[in-house]
Subunit: 542 residues, 2 copies
């Protein structure tokens, strides 16, 4: 231990120890980048001076509504300015921000509002009916609704609730922020959208969000003044913490209500977007966009993608359009991304597309703010770095949640042995890069052979007519399970089941080749992940 | 405070809380950048895999020499590989690194070795006589000397001490690093070179160095894989923490024994240097270098400069050579730079050279890792932001020292009121940018008028024949004090006293114009600062 023999007088004091918090990024930005554009959405264009003032007004208004430090303030808002402002305004009065997924059903929203004991909920006018139904279904006291209309987008005020802008207008732009005294204080509450049971409330601390921002900017090669397009929902790991990150860099956050190819291309061309994150489905949307939806742009745009490895065919196409894609991996419990497929320029340049894509399909290595991320067997021993031995991804570092709210047993289980247990099954390559073998349930076992649904999907996605493909296990008398594919074709495409099966068989072993192909739109979660459990149910019915 | 009503089970644990330390940057770099070039000096070219192994061997060797956690290990080495390795190898065995200024006299080195109770000292062969004289002059037990020869540079081994490379060769490259359990543990000890009295031992903690690195890379617009030329001595605030920073970015540290214009231009051209720090005297050296000492290069090179504002004439010249200069400000007590003259592109583009230089002469705003840096009067009230009202620069944030070793009284004084008191006198401009009015003793008071020696020096430096200029007060019967200039001319230049005085008078008020000019080489400290106290003594004798 690095304690010297005599450390008299060397203690922490106000001059040399300040609690880490992302709030300090905006406090500083208002001083050093006052005239830079902070948040953009349509006609809403606010500088850092204005953004800071509006967040201060929000904090002041919340205090006026009776919010006290430690209270929960919830939101039901798309990636719009008020949602970004809540990331600072809510903790600036000592409250904890609970961004709720706007695509959830009223029953689940009611559960979340009850479980978190939200005192106030900021609601976009589009989601007032959802909020009202949820409040009606609650067991406890319903939170006070504050309405955030977006008339220009066709969502005017209902007239039934106090309006966000009115509250701000009546509040104090010089409100003194309640900065944390201890960086372990709670900053945000995010409910995981588990496939079974009630969602769990993941609690973030100020320190974790601060360090998440620092690590992210290194991995994403961000310099001052990036322009970040907010596609990853801010209700999903707080948009991977990017709302908190932007003021550190004097960057601009570009809001976005509906994620469409024209909206993305327009933001890139008109606002000079340099960075965004999104599930592979977003990449797909871009490469498959008709020419009329595209725009010219000159900057290189950096994309972080997560949720599933991008298909090789998608990667090959999107890079020629001026995008650079880095796969990252993480969970709600880890504030979002904690591994990155760091590109080894010195070793990997000059590879062919297929080899590049195979490397980019890896989830990669620990990001800078993390201490250790590895793959372990059931006895918590690291698996061999052979690209074959499977185990669970285990995560240790400063961007790991405090735990699950009011669920100490689940927290204890998640942290057994000093690592967060991700639940994701992976291998480690000889260079230490982690690659998800399959979300545990996505392994198809056919005649005793393991089949990676990711691999089969990757092949199908290489077919020029395929927009999206998902492969699940279908129960089978003889083989136990066989792969069954669900496919969305591109508009106007005409490929049929036999053609796709033959295409897959040209690359895959027979046992890996889908035995059946079902065409139609795939069911997706609010974050764009394909709902495989729905497909598994459907496959079982076939 | 952001504590929720029920925080049961939400405590820190091994999974979600890891002590911040720059050591983790190298641990990670060895994993994710193993084949990247980490340290370069002549034939010494080591990858991150090798660098990590050598630092592990150093830690192992120190344990073999009897070093235990909390011990001090000192160095007397220029900016060479062993000095960089000590930044990781020493704390990796739990010891505290004390890099000693190689330009100090033996008596002061003896005081430092005694005061810090150094157990081992790593010594470059050039400084073996200094180390021997210091050890002989010590009151307590002398540290064990380990010699680091540099035969290629004309400094072969003395044959009297164990050799650094031999110790490494016999040590364990898989030594398990002793990472701090608490980020407040001591990492380094740096003695300030005060102008009066014995130096004070400034103690750094792991957290401060980690956050210093994070803040620096943002301000310096560093992305992955910078090439950093080590000009700022690593014994000066640990080279502003850059040895610790490089592994975070997979960057390359280029060693340098003697700071000369050819050495700098060669490193830029041959090693692709992208960043370096240095006092204005280094900038001067570059702009005044003869054509034969220069080399062509295509990259933009970013320079952090500190110690004094760069002269407008120097700034104007160096930017045309492919360098971008940012002034930073800090002290040993703040790990180096804590303010930066952040360039406000949106507001300041298109200004003329003189206006740009005037803005770049400011010390600027708090860097991202700092909480609050301002200028206060004696009552600790912020002075008006009018560019005129003077006060003391006061500093609060995570890159402030733990305190002075074995000097709790000086520590308490330095931290009165919850800020570190810098001792530097400054003004604040309306935009919050701080500008040093003068180091307190550098103000010349003539006939009741304050004269900024910095201003007068800036004018003199604009003369084409002037290489360096320093202005101090000379006692005067009539006016109390008058400005007296000491000037180094460029080789071959012929300007005389009358000519320079006339040149200055063309810009300056009469009372600010030097009454006397003395030509000759200026006395400088080990870090390149001009020793004004020597000049003041000389001026008093005139």
């Amino acid at each position: 231990m690095g304690w010297m023999q005599d450390e008299t007088g060397l203690d922490k004091c106000a001059a040399n120890h300040v609690a880490l918090t992302p709030l300090s990024f905006l406090t500083r930005a208002a001083q050093v980048f006052p005239d830079r554009l902070a948040v953009v959405y349509g006609k809403h264009r606010k500088s850092y001076r204005e953004y800071h003032a509006r967040c201060s007004q929000l904090a002041s208004a919340l205090v006026g509504l009776g919010v006290v430090p430690g209270d929960v303030v919830a939101t039901l808002i798309p990636n719009l300015p008020a949602q970004a402002e809540a990331h600072f305004g809510v903790p600036a009065c000592g409250a904890v921000l609970n961004t709720i997924n706007t695509r959830l059903d009223a029953g689940t929203v009611a559960f979340i509002l009850d479980h978190g004991s939200a005192r106030v909920v900021l609601v976009d006018s589009q989601f007032i009916p959802l909020a009202e139904a949820a409040c009606a279904a609650m067991e406890g006291t319903a939170p006070q609704i504050v309405e955030v209309p977006d008339a220009d987008a066709g969502h005017p005020a209902s007239g039934r609730y106090p309006l966000y802008e009115d509250l701000l207008a009546g509040a104090d732009a010089d409100f003194a922020w309640q900065l944390p005294q201890d960086e372990w204080e709670s900053l945000a509450l995010n409910y995981t959208s588990g496939t079974t049971g009630r969602p769990k409330g993941v609690v973030y601390h100020h320190r974790g969000a601060y360090l998440m921002c620092m690590g992210t900017l290194v991995s994403w090669r961000m310099v001052l003044h990036p322009v970040y397009l907010s596609i990853v929902p801010l209700f999903h790991c707080n948009g991977w913490n990017h709302a908190w990150l932007m003021p550190l860099l004097g960057g601009t956050l570009v809001g976005c209500r509906d994620i469409t190819a024209p909206a993305i291309f327009n933001a890139i061309a008109d606002e000079g977007v340099t960075h965004f994150g999104g599930a592979p489905i977003v990449l797909n949307m871009l490469v498959n966009a008709p020419e009329s939806d595209r725009r010219e742009f000159s900057q290189q745009v950096e994309i972080f993608t997560a949720g599933a490895p991008p298909a090789p065919a998608t990667l090959a196409k999107i890079e020629t359009l001026g995008f650079n894609v880095t796969q990252v991996y993480g969970l709600t419990e880890t504030y979002g991304h904690v591994t990155e497929c760091l590109w080894r320029g010195e070793a990997w340049e000059g590879l062919k597309d297929a080899e590049r894509a195979a490397l980019k399909a890896r989830q990669g290595v620990a990001m800078p703010m993390m201490e250790h991320i590895t793959v372990m067997d059931d006895g918590m021993r690291e698996v061999a770095r052979d690209g074959k031995s499977q185990g669970e991804i285990m995560i240790r570092g400063n961007s790991v949640m405090k735990g699950y709210l009011k669920n100490p047993e689940a927290t204890r289980e998640a942290f057994v042995g000093g690592y967060f247990h991700s639940g994701d099954i992976a291998v480690q390559h000889p260079d230490g890069y982690i690659q998800i073998a399959d979300r545990a349930k996505d392994i198809i076992i056919s005649g005793g052979e393991n089949i990676s649904s990711v691999e089969v999907e990757g092949v199908l996605m290489g077919h020029p007519d395929v927009n999206l493909a998902a492969v699940v296990a279908k129960p089978d008398e003889k083989w136990g399970e066989v792969p069954c594919a669900f496919v969305e074709l591109k508009p106007g495409a005409t490929e049929d089941e036999a053609g796709l099966i033959a295409f897959a068989r040209a690359t895959l072993a027979g046992f890996k080749t889908p035995k059946q192909v079902i065409f139609g739109e795939l069911p997706k979660t609010s974050t764009g992940k394909i709902q495989k459990f729905e497909l598994r149910k459907e496959a079982a019915r076939l």
